[in-house]
């Protein structure tokens, strides 16, 4: 759904607070509410964005894209540092096929 938030006098509202308010409104739990795409209108005081409310967390995990799950705290992030990613890639270059995965994790140790 599309959510219009009126917040005069303060900068935009955090995802967490939005989730709390929506949970109260729609009588669901905050863990099933995913908010995204909020843009504050010119001049401040009003922001518009989208929110999705799921029936259960399992369904949400199946449907939602990874970045939103990570924002929520559920998803697994993986290696972020670019140096480590490049090292991993170079270790895996020596092998072909499924052995790549084994090599990537083995070399780390």
């Amino acid at each position: 759904m599309i959510v219009d938030v009126l917040h005069p006098g303060r900068p935009n509202v955090s995802h967490k607070e939005l989730g709390d308010r929506l949970a109260k409104l729609y009588k669901s739990s905050e863990e099933c509410i995913f908010t995204f795409g909020f843009r504050t209108a010119f001049g401040g005081g009003k922001s518009t964005g989208f929110a999705l409310i799921y029936d259960s967390l399992d369904e949400a995990k199946k449907v939602e894209p990874k970045y939103r799950l990570i924002r929520h705290g559920i998803g697994a992030k993986g290696i972020i540092s670019s140096k480590q990613r490049k090292e991993r890639k170079n270790r895996a270059k020596k092998f072909r096929g499924t052995k790549k995965a084994k090599a990537a994790t083995a070399g780390k140790k």
């Binding site: 599309i2 795409g37 843009r39 209108a41 010119f42 001049g43 989208f50």
Partner: protein
């Protein structure tokens, strides 16, 4: 079959049908009896026609059987596509008639009877054959044509046209089974030789295209020549040049500026920037995803900014061509109007002469009324397109001009 005999038989049939039911049913459903009475002669006729067609089909079958048994029709070199089609159709027909028989006897066909299975099978086969047939169509047509030419003696036809053997060989007419394209056929050797071709054609040599697919016919309301269509009015009311004209001539109306750039104001007048933003917003809200600015959009914005876009300055010369094209329709309408009023030339001189004449002769007769009496009226009329009516000023105008019920002064 004489009609009287049909009626007799219909009565017999009726008795048979109605006699099957119990004695009380005749009084129970008289409507049913009436229906049966009305339909029964038709049914009898149909049955007779079926019997006759079956007789003729039987005769043909006997003939075919004889031909096969006398080995005049070769059936030994395997099954060809056409044979499959024949057998398929035949099987389909027999199974279909059996199915109809079942239905007539009132047996339920919800369980899959083997005849129904056969029907489905044959249907699938026939449908699969169809694309193959389409591919073979050209060859089959060629073979048929060759057969036709062989049966009709074509030597007479060629002799009439005085075509030499050399030409025949080159045109490939002598070997109709050749499938390669023949460029000489493009020229149309027969029409070149036959000089009466044009007159002999029914429409006197005019090309009439073949009507293959149905095309929608949209009945437009009858337009008079000098009229402006709704679409031209729309595009005019949006054009910048016309807006300038309106500001100059329609002095009763306040000048309107877009509210682009400010966050306020209902966006009544939309320019291209507003339209773009509106489109993006619509997409975002309906698809639940935010669009980021693309590279070319950013480039365009930068270029517009560099040209003085921050202050809203637009180079007039750039869009002059499109503006004048939009005004072209208006120009035509005005010139037609002038022609109607001031004679066929419609020029300014003619108008002046007319005016002078009426002044000197003292005739105060009303001049021919044109569609637009002056520029202001022209502008207001043209601007009455959809874009011209939406603004708040127009709405207020309409409201003010609407007659209101007066409750005061009632006596």
């Amino acid at each position: 079959m004489t009609p009287s005999k049909n009626d007799e038989e219909a009565e017999v049939f009726l008795d048979a049908v109605l006699g099957d039911h119990s004695a009380g049913s005749e009084t129970e459903n008289p409507e049913l009896a009436k229906l049966i009475q009305a339909d029964s002669p038709l049914l009898v006729k149909q049955i007779y026609s079926i019997v006759e067609s079956m007789k003729s089909a039987k005769e043909k079958l006997m003939e075919l059987q004889q031909r096969i048994s006398s080995n005049s029709v070769p059936t030994s070199k395997g099954v060809s596509l056409l044979e499959i089609k024949l057998h398929g159709l035949l099987s389909y027909l027999t199974n279909l008639s059996f199915f109809i028989l079942l239905k007539l006897h009132g047996q339920s066909t919800s369980e899959l009877h083997p005849s129904v299975e056969r029907l489905i099978e044959m249907r699938v086969i026939l449908e699969k054959i169809k694309p193959m047939e389409v591919k073979l169509k050209y060859q089959i047509d060629k073979v048929l044509k060759a057969a036709n030419d062989a049966s009709n003696p074509s030597a007479e036809k060629n002799a009439q046209r005085n075509v030499s053997e050399f030409d025949l060989q080159n045109s490939g007419v002598s070997d109709p089974l050749q499938f390669k394209p023949n460029p000489l056929n493009l020229v149309g050797a027969s029409t070149a030789l036959d000089k009466n071709a044009d007159q002999s054609r029914e429409d006197g040599g005019v090309y009439r295209p073949p009507r293959i697919a149905p095309v929608k016919y949209s009945e437009e309301p009858k337009r008079r020549k000098g009229d402006l269509s709704a679409s031209t009015r729309e595009s005019l009311s949006k054009s910048r040049l016309f807006k300038d004209m309106r500001d100059t001539f329609d002095t009763s109306r306040p000048e309107q500026v877009t509210s682009h750039g400010t966050g306020y104001g209902v966006r009544e007048l939309r320019d291209s920037k507003d339209e773009e933003l509106a489109k993006i917003e619509e997409f975002e809200l309906s698809n639940y995803q935010r669009l980021s600015a693309t590279r070319d959009r950013n480039k365009r914005e930068k270029a517009a900014m560099r040209k003085g876009g921050a202050a809203g300055i637009v180079d007039e010369m750039e869009n002059l061509e499109s503006d004048f094209l939009q005004m072209d329709a208006l120009d035509r309408a005005v010139s037609f109007d002038n022609q109607e009023r001031y004679g066929s030339s419609g020029s300014v001189l003619a108008k002046r002469n007319m005016r002078a004449e009426s002044f000197f002769t003292g005739n105060d007769e009303p001049r021919k009324k044109g569609k637009f009496t002056d520029a202001t009226e022209l502008v207001t009329k043209v601007a009455s397109g959809a874009a011209g009516k939406k603004t708040a000023y127009d709405k207020a105008l309409r409201k003010a001009s609407k007659p209101r019920h007066r409750t005061l002064g009632k006596k």
